[in-house]
């Protein structure tokens, strides 16, 4: 997969990276980059990067193409007000590494700017105030108003999403006001929240479309009124790029492929695996499963599929049924890491050991990572990342658009699996926190105090 090629960028010598960056900065200094018109976005990129999907990037050679920085960014430092050289540690934490950066050139630039900006220190007291009060003035005197119209804010992940958005917004001095609404899964309120932000002349509106396509008319209306509307989720609604600016999400199929490749690697003699699916009718599972099957070796068979409601109890019930029929599994896929704790309880209830079992997950939820450690780390488990920075990417995409960049209609992050180890369980964040969140641990603890 192409994303694997991208990961080779991480191995580049620092000296080459620095030289490339210096050359790009020097080249860009001749232009008035901040004043670039919207429709010329991307055209400032140096030659050799004109393929829309970035396939001409020198991944195979392990060296950046001319005009690319070591992470594949094609914009010069400072263009559209952003840096495109992220802190490697933050990149590893938020995305699991450079291999998860988007393939598409412009999306990659937005992602790099997002992560680079995430390392800018902000006033955490102010961030906490905004988070607690759902609305705040940033004190910068900036003219822009940005709002997060969340479809649901009642779980930890969404509360962290909210803080990621706030922290990212606080890095922009142009932003003077931050707003937040929680529709609590009420479709009418979700629509009303988006329209309300638009009516209040918010310049940027981020939204998680829990209500699905029902929100598209509201997004379209807000866009027509001049707001930059960005969504993030596991699947797009409406027609991003037309109905609204863009959406950011993960490459669902790539994750299925990654799981399949890992099973194939770890089970050379074949074996039986089972899949714990999510809620019936969800659009993610069929893609996961199809792509998993595409990359599985022929001697590995999917012997059971059980649907759930993405809850621990549902995972427990599903796993119990799977174990009743197949008590000697070699592998188990449970995309929601947190709920997989329920699957572990099913093994416990049945008096069966999980030793040697290979498990695959989408999210690296701390409860699972710590439960894995508490259970003695007897399974070989792999996770992706929580992708909590999607909200940050949306924020930065909107700001780059305002600065004149030609933001792509989709910002799709790639996949890089991480093996779970004893160090994966984080004790410096709340038990329900996310290890891949870019919210500082001490701030997470202040958000969820003892």
């Amino acid at each position: 997969m192409k994303r694997h090629h991208r990961s080779k960028f991480r191995r580049l010598p620092v000296a080459i990276a620095a030289l490339s960056s210096f050359a790009l900065v020097a080249a860009a200094c001749g232009d008035d980059d901040d004043a670039a018109p919207a429709d010329t976005g991307g055209t400032e990129a140096p030659a050799g990067t004109d393929a829309p999907d970035g396939t001409d990037a020198p991944a195979d050679t392990g060296a950046p193409a001319a005009g690319e920085n070591e992470y594949g960014g094609t914009l010069a430092e400072g263009e559209f007000g952003e840096s495109y050289i992220p802190d490697p540690d933050i990149l590893a934490q938020g995305l699991g590494g450079g291999g998860s950066l988007p393939e598409e050139e412009r999306a990659r630039n937005v992602a790099l700017a997002t992560i680079a900006r995430a390392s800018i220190p902000v006033d955490e007291d102010l961030a906490l105030k905004c988070w607690n009060e759902n609305e705040c003035d940033t004190g910068t005197g900036g003219e822009l108003k940005v709002g997060l119209a969340d479809g649901f804010g009642g779980n930890i992940a969404r509360q962290i999403f909210k803080m990621e958005f706030i922290l990212q917004a606080l890095t922009y001095p142009e932003i003077g006001h931050i707003g937040y609404t929680d529709a609590n899964l009420d479709t009418q309120k979700a629509i009303s929240d988006v329209r309300s932000f638009a009516a209040q002349d918010y310049d940027v509106i981020l939204s998680f479309p829990d209500a699905g396509e029902a929100l598209v008319p509201a997004y379209r209306a807000a866009t027509d009124e001049g707001a930059q509307v960005v969504t993030w989720s596991s699947g797009k609604v409406g027609e991003p790029g037309t109905d609204y600016l863009t959406y950011s999400g993960s490459d669902i199929c790539a994750l299925g492929h990654a799981w399949g490749e890992k099973f194939t690697e770890l089970l050379p003699d074949g074996g039986d695996i089972a899949i714990i699916l999510g809620a019936p009718g969800n659009p993610i599972d069929p893609v996961h499963e199809q792509c998993l099957e595409e990359s599985l070796a022929d001697n590995i068979e999917i012997v059971a599929r059980e649907g759930t409601a993405w809850s621990r109890q549902a995972y427990l019930e599903a796993t119990s049924a799977i174990l009743a029929e197949h008590d000697d599994l070699d592998g188990l896929v449970g995309s929601y890491g947190d709920a997989f704790v329920g699957a572990m309880r099913a093994y416990e209830a049945a008096g069966k050991s999980m030793e040697g079992l290979i498990t695959m997950h989408q999210s690296d939820d701390n409860p699972f990572l710590c439960a894995w450690k508490d259970a003695g780390g007897i399974t070989k488990s792999y996770t992706y990342v929580g992708l909590l920075l999607e909200g940050r990417a949306g924020m930065t995409a909107a700001m780059m658009k305002i600065a004149g960049y030609d933001v792509p209609p989709q910002i799709i992050f790639g996949v890089q699996l991480k093996e779970v180890t004893n160090d994966s369980c984080r004790t410096d964040i709340p038990p329900d926190g996310s290890p891949s969140s870019l919210v500082p641990p001490e701030l997470q603890s202040r958000m969820f105090p003892e």
């Binding site: 009718g281 621990r312 109890q313 119990s320 009743a324 029929e325 008590d327 049945a350 926190g433």
Partner: protein
């Protein structure tokens, strides 16, 4: 109410069945027939359960494997706890749709108050039951005193509780697991069987005993069967209605504790699985939705019927969408062949001329043979209680 029992109407509802019962009881061979009539509404689920086990044995034998039972027993027991609480409310002619939300809130309260410490477990459980009492009192007062529709009232309080849970959940993020002793208890075994199973079985037997053999239990049924008659008999009707909602909320509290123990760290809505399953169990257990008639032991059995049916469908590898369809059809079928309908069918059989002549020749009923419970509440309900 007809004491003589000879004036039989075509409308053989609950009161009709009661008349038939009175008729049958006064006959020399009456006891057997009376038992047959009144147990018919409750015995169906036991027969259905046996058939389900046979079907499982044939088409999905692994449903009955030891590893399957290891999860089925505690999970089915939680359904049974909620169903027993729901049964008490349905016996009052009401329904409590807030139980699922109550479970969600109280499971999180348990986590928040206990802070994962075994030392605080008992304290946390006391708090859980205290809150359950408050929730039950609110529901009960709204239904019994303000005479509001129980379906709407409990749906509304359920929504409120879900909102409160979402907010409370944010604050408990740093203390989000139940104490180890609780998470260990739910899967611990006594005589090779889950302790949770024994606990809930004991609870079901206790409820059955109280309903059948105590004055309080009899009055409870009387209020459910006919509030006006119960009120005229001097029973404090509102008190019993409120008590039913409080007991249901306490059952939800216990379920919340057990759910917390099973999943270790409940999410925002761990009670979602317990909205309709327990109601289905109460109906399949033979309870009359109009109130009064119900059997704790049959409701307990029906809870396991529902749980095993679900497990069988999963083991068969059926897609979850089809699982829902088959499960729904099974519930409808169960309703068709249980409760009032089966009692009606048995009652009509008893009224067939051949049987009437047979029993009539055996021993004519005397009008001076008062039914012990007659005059307090319908005979049918009293007899049903004996099978509780």
């Amino acid at each position: 109410m007809s004491q003589g029992g000879f004036e039989l109407s075509d409308d053989i509802g609950v009161s009709g069945v009661g008349r038939i019962a009175g008729f049958a009881r006064r006959l020399g061979v009456g006891n057997v027939m009376s038992n047959l009539l009144f147990s018919s509404r409750f015995v169906t689920i036991w027969i259905a359960g046996a058939l389900l086990l046979i079907v499982c044995r044939i088409i999905a034998p692994n449903t009955l494997s030891s590893s399957s039972w290891a999860a089925l027993l505690p999970l089915g027991s939680i359904v049974a706890v909620v169903a027993l609480g729901q049964m008490l409310v349905i016996m009052m002619g009401g329904i409590d749709l807030s139980m699922a939300a109550t479970i969600s809130l109280l499971a999180n309260v348990l986590v928040g108050v206990s802070e994962g410490s075994d030392d605080r477990l008992v304290y946390a459980m006391v708090i859980v039951f205290a809150w359950a009492t408050v929730i039950g009192l609110v529901n009960g007062l709204l239904v019994a005193v303000l005479d509001l529709n129980p379906l709407i009232v409990t749906l509304s309080t359920g929504l409120i509780l879900l909102g409160v849970t979402s907010q409370y959940r944010v604050g408990t993020a740093n203390n989000s697991t139940v104490p180890d002793s609780l998470s260990g208890f739910v899967f611990e075994r006594l005589f090779g069987i889950s302790k949770t199973f024994w606990l809930v079985l004991l609870m079901a037997l206790l409820i059955a005993l109280v309903l059948r053999s105590t004055a309080v239990g009899r009055r409870f049924q009387a209020v459910g069967a006919n509030r006006r008659a119960a009120w005229m008999a001097g029973i404090r009707v509102r008190l019993y209605v409120i008590a039913a909602y409080v007991l249901a909320a306490l059952a939800a509290g216990l379920a919340g504790i057990l759910v917390g123990g099973i999943v270790v760290s409940p999410g925002v809505d761990p009670g979602a699985s317990y909205l309709l399953g327990p109601v289905a169990a109460v109906v399949l257990g033979g309870a009359a939705l109009s109130g009064g008639l119900a059997s704790a032991t049959s409701t307990w059995a029906a809870a396991f019927f529902v749980t095993i049916l679900n497990q069988m469908l999963r083991v068969l590898g059926m897609a979850i969408a089809w699982q829902n369809v088959v499960f729904g059809l099974a519930i409808i079928l169960g309703m068709v062949i249980s409760g009032d309908r089966i009692a009606d069918v048995v009652g009509r059989l008893l009224l067939r001329p051949g049987i009437r002549n047979l029993v009539g020749d055996a021993e004519p009923p005397g009008t001076d043979d008062p039914e012990p419970t007659a005059g307090r509440f319908p005979v049918g309900h009293a007899a049903a209680a004996e099978h509780g």
